[in-house]
Point group: C2
C-alpha cells in the first residue's frame, strides 16, 4: 500500500458539492421551483459518502476521476431523492435533516415528492447520457448495478420493510434484510459499479463486493450508535428517534457495547480486505476509518 | 401504405398486460407488499397508449417487437409511477383512477409513494438491463430519450407547474408548456425513441417527432373534452374535476367547440404526417384515430 493523498477525500467532497450545486443553478422556466427544491436538499451538506466511495474505488484503477463525475453525481442524486421521500409525513415524518428543515417543511409535501422524483429521474438520465458519450458494456453494467440497487430489491424494498415495521418488534433476519437494502444496497453498488466500470478482475470485484457489503453494515450500526450517543446539533437530526418510534434497530437488538464492538471489528475486517488488494487503496482505507469515527 | 393487421393493437395491449402482470408476480420476501402495490396499479386497466405507440413505431421498421417488450414495459411503468404520485393527497388528491380506488386509498400514502418510486426505478433498471444484452449506441440513446422525458424538463416539470397553478388562471403559453411536459413528453419520447432505436433516417425521425408532439397535444385536448362530456363510469375517474378545482385547461381557454375542432384538425395533421413516411404506418394511423374517438 502506497501513501495516499491526505486531502483527496476533502477535495472530492468539494468538487462534488460544486458539481451538484452548479448542476441545478440557473435552470428552468415555469418549472424553476423544482430546481430550487432539488438544489435545497443537495446543498444541505451531506457527507457525500456514496459518490466518494465510487470515486475512490475508481481511483484504485484510474486517475482521471473527473471522467466519471456524472456517475458520482447521479449516485448522490439518487441518495438525496431517497432522503427527501423518507422524510415525508407519510413515511418517517421528519422535520430536520442535516440540521435544516426537511424538503417538505420548506416547499410543501407535493413539491417534495416531485423534488425526490426529479432527483431520481435526473440521476438515471445522467447515467444514460454518460453511457452515450462512449458506449461500452462495462459502463452500462456499472449504471445498471446502481439503478438496480435503488429499486424494489434495493433501497425501495428496504424502505418498504422499514415503513411496515414501524412500532413492531422485528426479527434479526428482517433487521439485516431491511438495512442491507435500505442503506447497504447503494453503498455496495457505488463500490462494485466502480470496479465493474474500470474492468477490474473477478477476484478484485469479489473482494470489493465483500468490502462494500461490510462497510454498508458498519455504516448502519454506526448510525444506530449515533442515534443514541450523538447530539442533535452535530447530527443535524433528532437523536433517539428510533427508540421514540419503537423501532427495532441494532442497539435495541444487541445493546450499545456489542454494537460498538461489531462496528470496530467490521471496520478492521474492511481494512484487511482492502489491504488484500494489490493496489493503492490508502484513500479508501482512510475513508473506512473515518466512517467508524464520524460524529454525524 | 399497406394494409395493417386489424388485431395488432389489441394483441399488443394483451401482451403488455400479461408481461406487466407476470413481471410483478410471485416476487419479493419481506418487501412483498411493494410488488402487490405496484401490480395493483399496473393491473388497473390502462390503455397502454405509450408502450403501444413505442411498439407500433418500432414495427414500422422491424417485425420482432418482442425484442423490445422490456422497453415498452419500462415506458408503462414510468407512466404508472407518475399516475400514482399525481393522485397523492399532496398532489391532485384523487380517490378514483381507471374506475378503481387510487393506490394510496388501498395501500396507504407511504406505500403509494414507494410503489411509484419502485415503478420508476424498475423502469429505469429494465432499460439498463436491456441495453446490457447487446450494447449499442442507438439503444442507449433511445433509453436516454425516455429517461429524459420523465425528468424535470419533462413529466416532473409539467407536474410541478400543474401543482403550482392550482386554483390560478394561467396564461396560454404556460398551459401549453404544462401539458407538453406533463402528458406530451413521454408520448413523444415513446415514438421518437423507437425511431432512434431502429436507426431511422434523420428525416423520418423529424417527421415522427412532429407526429409525437402533435398526438400528445391532441391526446391532452381530448382528455379535457372528456372531462366535460364524458361520464364517470366510462372514464373511471371523476368528470369536471378541472372545473371544480378551478384549473385552467383547454376547455376553459378555448371552449368545447373549438377544442373539438382542434382535436380533429390535429388528428388529420398527424395522419397526414404518417402518410408522408414511405412505409407501412397503417397500425399507427389506426391508433391515432382511435385516440381521437376514445370515450375514456
Amino acid at each position: 500500500m502506497k501513501k495516499g493523498n491526505n486531502d483527496m477525500i476533502e477535495n472530492l467532497r468539494q468538487e462534488l458539492n460544486s458539481y451538484l450545486h452548479e448542476y441545478m443553478s440557473g435552470k428552468g422556466s415555469y418549472n424553476k421551483k423544482i430546481y430550487e427544491a432539488m438544489q435545497y436538499s443537495l446543498d444541505a451538506g451531506g457527507k457525500r459518502i456514496r459518490p466518494i466511495l465510487f470515486l475512490l474505488t475508481y481511483m484504485i484503477y484510474k486517475k482521471e476521476y473527473r471522467n466519471v463525475m456524472e456517475i458520482a453525481a447521479a449516485i448522490e442524486m439518487i441518495h438525496t431523492y431517497s432522503l427527501i421521500h423518507d422524510d415525508l409525513p407519510s413515511m418517517d415524518n421528519d422535520d430536520l435533516r442535516r440540521g435544516k428543515p426537511t424538503n417538505h417543511k420548506v416547499f410543501g409535501e407535493g413539491i417534495a415528492v416531485l423534488a425526490g422524483d426529479g432527483l431520481l429521474n435526473e440521476g438515471m438520465s445522467l447515467m444514460f447520457k454518460h453511457c452515450l458519450k462512449d458506449t461500452n458494456k462495462n459502463k452500462v453494467n456499472a449504471c445498471s448495478i446502481i439503478a438496480e440497487s435503488a429499486g424494489v430489491e434495493g433501497m425501495v424494498g428496504g424502505q418498504t420493510v422499514d415503513l411496515l415495521s414501524e412500532g413492531a418488534k422485528i426479527p434479526i433476519d428482517q433487521l439485516y434484510y431491511m438495512h442491507s437494502k435500505k442503506t447497504g444496497a447503494l453503498i455496495k453498488a457505488a463500490i462494485v459499479s466502480a470496479a465493474v466500470y474500470v474492468g477490474a478482475s473477478e477476484d478484485e470485484i469479489d473482494k470489493l463486493s465483500y468490502y462494500g457489503k461490510k462497510i454498508g453494515l458498519a455504516f448502519q450500526i454506526k448510525d444506530d450508535i449515533l442515534d443514541v450517543t450523538g447530539d442533535t446539533k452535530k447530527l443535524g437530526k433528532k437523536v433517539k428517534s428510533d427508540a421514540n418510534n419503537n423501532k427495532t434497530n441494532f442497539i435495541t437488538t444487541y445493546g450499545l457495547n456489542k454494537c460498538m464492538e461489531m462496528c470496530n471489528s467490521i471496520t478492521s475486517d474492511c481494512v484487511e480486505v482492502l489491504r488484500g488488494i494489490n493496489r493503492d487503496t490508502h484513500d479508501l482505507e482512510r475513508l473506512t476509518v473515518f466512517l467508524l469515527n464520524r460524529e454525524n
